[in-house]
């Protein structure tokens, strides 16, 4: 176990029950993610990538085993404790952006900050900084419907960054974008990683996205089967991903 690991997954087993049948999603999985690492998770559909991401982000609980993020054993937290913890420690980037359609870009980015004890001036400063970082200060009054897919994902990234979280998790952040926008988003994630030193865990089917990561982990049938450098990731574009079933 690395002493600098910010994420530590220990002997995690996750299963669901359908009637009397037990469906194993993750089996005896252990993993360390060092602070500041950009890691990609790959694997076929149903391999447990998103489930593992949800466990690390505190969105789900393991059936067995432990998940630590920093000093926090998040696998033992209640739902309310996890919600509080997520506000400060996790920024989440979705495949389909999931911006609230009735709010402007500014208000969407501001949403997580409403849970923190900040003055309105401090909130404004943080939102403006986050939007500036993703290059959307001129679109802050636009609603999601008035933005392109790439711009919406930028807002999503700004929303994930605005609380200055310990960890950024991204679930196929380029999965709904054309290849040019996808490249721009990957550039942006790379910049964030470099300039802010954030730990980033990204689930992806897209080998081009995986090649941006420092480390690529492969999951199959709920087990880690391979660890590779980005150079080992299969060649191909996002078109390949579009065809791949999830």
């Amino acid at each position: 176990m690395s002493s600098e690991a910010i994420v530590r997954v220990r002997g995690v087993h996750k299963y669901f029950r359908r009637g009397s049948e037990q469906i194993d999603v993750l089996m005896d999985l252990s993993l360390d993610v060092p602070e500041g690492e950009f890691m990609a998770l790959m694997g076929p559909s149903g391999s447990g990538k998103t489930t593992l991401l949800n466990l690390i982000a505190g969105l789900d609980q393991p059936s067995e085993g432990e998940v630590w993020v920093g000093e926090n054993l998040i696998s033992r937290m209640s739902e309310a404790q996890l919600a509080k913890w997520r506000t400060r420690h996790v920024g989440f980037v979705f495949q389909f952006y999931h911006l609230l359609p009735v709010l402007t870009a500014y208000e969407n980015v501001e949403l997580p900050l409403l849970l923190l004890p900040l003055s309105s001036a401090a909130r404004k400063r943080q939102v403006t900084t986050a939007l500036d970082l993703v290059g959307l200060t001129d679109r802050m009054k636009h609603r999601p419907g008035q933005l392109s897919g790439g711009q919406q994902q930028r807002v999503g990234i700004a929303r994930a960054l605005v609380t200055d979280p310990t960890l950024i998790v991204a679930d196929e952040p380029t999965g709904d974008l054309d290849s040019r926008s996808a490249e721009e988003i990957l550039d942006l994630i790379g910049e964030v990683r470099k300039s802010l030193g954030k730990t980033i865990i990204m689930v992806t089917h897209d080998p081009r996205a995986a090649r941006r990561a420092e480390r690529v982990l492969h999951l199959e049938k709920g087990r880690l089967v391979d660890e590779a450098t980005p150079e080992d990731a299969p060649r191909g574009g996002s078109d390949q991903f579009q065809e791949a079933p999830r």
Binding site: L59, A80, A83, F94, Q95, H98, V102, L111, L115, R246
Partner: protein
């Protein structure tokens, strides 16, 4: 400004109103403090304007009906409530409706039937004689018919109910009219709504053909003042001596008394300071041999009205305990349906909020907030509209019950409307709010992706 100060000063006397005001102030303060989440709730409601407006309209309609029903019920409850101080005792004929007593009872009844040294006397009294008439005996219509209270003008200001609620101008007009009636007993006061119906004005003279005193028509009745709209808007007032003089003239002209001569006193009001005095006076009156033929009964104003309302008891019970609760349940169901649809449509959004760190309680508060906005807003607007429309424009809810031709929607309806809307909004949104707070993030996103 004075009304506002009076209102604020009177707040501690009414715990319910005090709580309502405190609740509104707290809610406003909370809305100001949490203005961002409140703005978010308002924006969420605006995402489907048609549904929000329709839900608001349905809620508003229910609140309107409940407000109108409660306006009638609360007034009836008020007039049938026993007071502890300054009670009005009503003396009427014991065995007959309508009560018709000899006018000779008036003087002794004014003393509460006191004969012995230990007997107590009322602090004030007033006689009532009813005189109904029409301007056109051949073509009698509702419009040309008028109903007068025959009474001693001196007692009107001190004994009649509701005079304190007149505006300064209306009261001054009435005082002037009373003074003119005392100077000339042919003068009368008629309510403004009745004057309009009769197409008459203050200053005109009318001849009234009696409906309840055969051949006792009254010439040269000069209208000297008008009651304002409201409680006495349809009524008339005449000097009691005008009726008594007409009866004397009838006797002189016909050589025999009028058939109604000994039955002209319809009721007598006695003012007593407290319930103990009332009990004593009632005993004096009911046991006095002076009032034995016909015998009389003495009851408080509230119990008198309550006895009269006995005929409506079952209907009022049904309205109060069946209709109103059913309407409230319907309101809650309408809100529940609208909020449920909205929550189902926004499961992903609820899940996103959870991912961002919003706790289940936050999610619940957002959903409840939407329902409270719709319910409270629609309730307040509806009850406020009912108050303005029925009390200030239409002259009341015109459903004649007992002695009351119309019922005003009280200003308190604003609290009822707000409270009713908020309560039903809350009740209606509990189920969808619980559904929203229990949304499982992992399940929602596994379906989305």
């Amino acid at each position: 400004m004075n009304r506002l100060i009076d209102f604020l000063v009177s707040l501690p006397d009414d715990p319910l109103r005090f709580l309502a005001v405190a609740g509104v102030i707290l809610a406003l303060a909370a809305m100001l403090y949490y203005r961002k989440p409140v703005a978010f709730i308002a924006k969420s409601l605006l995402r489907n304007k048609v549904r929000t407006i329709l839900t608001g309209l349905a809620t508003g309609l229910f609140v309107l009906i409940v407000t109108l029903v409660w306006s009638v019920l609360s007034f009836l409850s008020l007039v049938t409530q026993e007071k502890a101080k300054d009670l009005k005792a009503i003396v009427t004929e014991r065995w007959q409706i309508p009560s018709q007593m000899p006018f000779a009872y008036a003087t002794d009844l004014a003393d509460g039937g006191a004969t012995k040294k230990d007997d107590v006397k009322p602090t004030d009294s007033m006689t009532w004689q009813f005189y109904g008439g029409t301007l056109d005996p051949v073509n009698r219509t509702r419009e040309n018919t008028v109903f007068f209270f025959g009474m001693d003008p001196k007692k009107i200001l001190t004994m009649m109910d509701g005079i304190d609620e007149f505006s300064a101008q209306d009261r001054a007009n009435l005082e002037k009219g009373i003074q003119l009636m005392e100077e000339d007993k042919r003068r009368v006061v008629i309510g403004i709504e009745r004057l309009r119906a009769m197409n008459k004005r203050v200053g005109e003279r009318i001849k009234i053909y009696s409906l309840n005193y055969k051949d006792l028509d009254l010439d040269e009745c000069e209208i000297v003042a008008a009651f304002p709209e409201g409680r006495y808007g349809q009524s008339g007032l005449m000097h009691r001596d005008r009726i008594n003089d007409a009866l004397d003239q009838y006797k002189a002209k016909n050589g025999k008394p009028h058939p109604m001569a000994d039955r002209t006193l319809n009721l007598v009001w006695l003012k007593v300071p407290d319930t103990a005095t009332y009990a004593k006076v009632a005993e004096q009156v009911e046991t006095s041999p002076k009032f034995s033929s016909p015998s009389v009964k003495c009851e408080t104003a509230s119990s008198g009205v309550a006895s009269f309302l006995d005929a409506y008891k079952d209907l009022l019970w049904i309205v109060q305990w069946l209709l109103v609760p059913v309407l409230m349940v319907c309101m809650a169901l309408v809100i529940c349906a609208a909020i449920s649809i909205s929550v189902r449509e926004r499961r992903t959004e609820m899940a996103v909020l959870k991912v961002l760190g919003y706790s289940p309680n936050h999610i619940m508060a957002l959903v409840l907030g939407e329902a409270l906005f719709i319910g409270g807003g629609a309730g307040l607007l509806s009850a406020g509209g009912a108050y303005i429309l029925f009390t200030h424009v239409l002259g009341g809810i015109k459903i004649p019950i007992a002695f009351f031709p119309a019922f005003m929607v009280p200003p308190d309806a604003l609290w009822w409307g707000l409270g009713l809307g908020v309560t039903t909004g809350f009740l209606g949104s509990i189920v969808p709010a619980v559904f929203a707070m229990s949304v499982k993030v992992s399940q929602v996103f596994s379906k989305v992706s």
